[in-house]
Subunit: 410 residues, 2 copies
């Protein structure tokens, strides 16, 4: 095991910044609003109905305010980079805004105001299912043809800088026909990051087998040049062949523990994936939690609950917390396409939950002993964004957030 | 559905105080310190070895300081009562302290200083297994004969007042022989609360079947007058007959979600238990979390992950959060033996995660949208203990806690 990523300094316990590999910023506004039964067989799919109704109310102004509040919370929790899997492109009736990049720019504005690194992944969303059917009415604001999509990426790339990268997201195999996938991948710059939702739901696995003759991850590995530039989001439902295939590809899996729990997706097969040499990161996705601690803690607890064993995600001579943190740090640059240089998170050494901590147990104590915020200072690319536990502009951003929510629920 | 337990007032969103039905206070000091592999087959049982080593270092002074810090955190999270399942009775060599109640008094002092309601449950711990073997050396400080145990209860009862009740805990069926259980139960006052660890581990279920010819919950229901004064802690491994039996008895099950996740115990069968009319509460147990939000959220998420459905713990025309909160509030007085009168928790209506909340969704938002502390004010028996999110004596207690931890890990 190499040296610890955490050091005791005069400021506290210091570690690198964490990357949040999967975010739909607008969903922050509906966190906690879909926990009421709409159907006795509530599932991911009935949740999606609620989410579509909320999505229909967003415009660039509300998206910017909600994203800014969300990014404040992420920074305060220790995330210094976020990958936005962004599909709310057009007006609610499906027509592009006068500036077709208006919604993307709202996210960029929010990231710049708060100082978080943003890897913006405009989503290609073309069909309503594996059968190639057109988008439903409520999905029309998500859609592009390939030319318009590539124009959007070109336009946005002009804004790239040290803390903003533009990548590509394929919504899912059900939303992107095979030929379109090939065309878009061929048109991307060689260093572009590519993210895709995959194998989150068993229904999706079944449909993919029925229509394309293979499980989704297997199909993707066979039909796309998956490598370390790729992030597979969820990848919950895998067989051993797919586990080995992802690991061999060097792609990162973005595990979204809290959202997968909230949506009842299922448990990612962490131990076999690590045994195969698989690479992973975490994402807060629907933002029912914005805490990396909760993502990591329950990633491990889920494994324990089904195996009735303890200390599952652990390599020899390390602890569970060290193994999980090392995993997340090792994929941040590949998944975001950013250097993550100059990103530091400082934990309050005086916090009671860290009393008596040593370099050997401080990460475990942080992850496995509570919920009280202990992140004291956060720097992104050398600039201080969180000071004494609060984002430097937290109050002003919260005021605008509350006003935006009032408009959204009006 | 009756009226909501939560109301909007000038102070914020107000609800009754929550009861924490299961605590081993000393374990707070080792939260996050057992997440390192000690054995490739790490389990509850290897965790217990680590816990025993930590337990051996406690004396009344360190126990009081650790408990005080823990109770501060509980109050700040919205708990106004705690049930202490207390078995660290004697000196490490097994001899009683000069005052045989010294360790109990340390817990009472901590509760009185912080203002939390305490239901102190001195634990009867007599044997090292179902076979009746003597306690192991490291368990000797837990043990009593029946006379000494009943004297301890008598002594402590003299201290009872409006926020302190003395009950009885039977450690587990493996630690209390049948005749001893009968004798102690016969000697208790009629209103005494009785708590017992049961069916947490499958090994315990198997041994009980082998030695006593029945599964533990079935055996208990057949051999003890289990009723609403009883709290069954964990009760993780139940068959349908046992689910129906607990529900019919009106006993409360104390579900300890975060500890059961940390220890890899297994998932409580919540949906069938609710369908049978079962009654439940929550406990933070080993204190890997002191947040009722996390206990409730992951109680629900665990069910979702194994069923691949959403909104499991829900009754018609209520939400998941309302169902869970109503369940917890409805058992608090029975399980603690306290009135819970004058206990109020006020959530900050200005917190971003509660922006735009209504009476119909505020509980869901609290439980299902994050980790940022939103408890603003807490009153116990009419006295304010938490103000602007912090316990009124938080700083002084934290200073003493850090000193106690330094002694424990020295």
């Amino acid at each position: 095991m190499s040296e610890s990523p955490v050091q005791r300094t005069a400021r506290g316990w210091e570690l690198p910044g964490l990357a949040n590999l999967h975010s739909h910023a607008f969903q922050r506004a509906m966190a906690g609003m879909a926990e009421r039964q709409t159907d006795p067989a509530d599932s991911f799919w009935t949740w999606r109905d609620t989410m579509y109704r909320m999505a229909a109310r967003f415009d660039p102004d509300t998206l910017r305010e909600v994203a800014a509040q969300l990014y404040v919370e992420m920074l305060e929790a220790g995330y210094t980079a976020v990958c936005e899997f962004h599909y709310l492109h057009h007006a609610p009736d499906g027509r592009p805004y006068d500036d077709p990049a208006a919604m993307s720019r709202a996210l960029i504005d929010a990231a710049r105001e708060t100082g978080i690194r943003l890897t913006l992944l405009p989503v290609l969303y073309m069909t309503g299912g594996f059968d190639g059917r057109a988008l439903a009415e409520r999905q029309r604001r998500f859609g592009h043809d390939i030319d318009a999509y590539l124009r959007l990426l070109d336009t946005l790339r002009a804004s790239q800088d040290d803390t903003l990268r533009i990548g590509c997201a394929l919504h899912s195999l059900r939303a992107v026909p095979e030929a379109a996938m090939r065309d878009v991948l061929a048109a991307l710059p060689g260093d572009a990051r590519i993210h895709i939702h995959i194998a989150e739901q068993t229904a999706e696995v079944d449909e993919c087998i029925a229509v394309r003759g293979a499980r989704p991850v297997r199909w993707l590995l066979d039909h796309a040049p998956v490598d370390s530039r790729w992030t597979l989001v969820h990848a919950t439902h895998l067989n051993d062949d797919e586990i080995a295939g992802i690991a061999a590809s060097r792609a990162t899996v973005a595990i979204c523990t809290t959202t997968e729990g909230n949506l009842g997706d299922g448990l990612f097969p962490l131990r076999p994936f690590l045994d195969a040499g698989g690479r992973f990161g975490i994402g807060s996705d629907s933002h029912v939690s914005t805490s990396p601690v909760e993502e990591l803690r329950w990633l491990e607890y889920g494994q324990r609950l089904v195996t009735r064993r303890r200390n599952i995600a652990v390599r020899e001579s390390t602890s569970v917390g060290e193994t999980l943190l090392a995993g997340v740090l090792s994929t941040a640059a590949d998944a975001t396409g950013q250097t993550m240089q100059g990103d530091r998170v400082v934990l309050d050494a005086g916090a009671p939950i860290l009393a008596g901590a040593t370099e050997g147990d401080v990460i475990d104590r942080w992850i496995f002993s509570g919920n009280r915020p202990v992140v004291q200072t956060v720097e992104v690319a050398g600039g201080e964004r969180v000071c004494e536990g609060r984002h430097v502009d937290a109050e002003a951003i919260a005021v605008r957030y509350r006003a935006a929510i009032a408009r959204l629920v009006a």
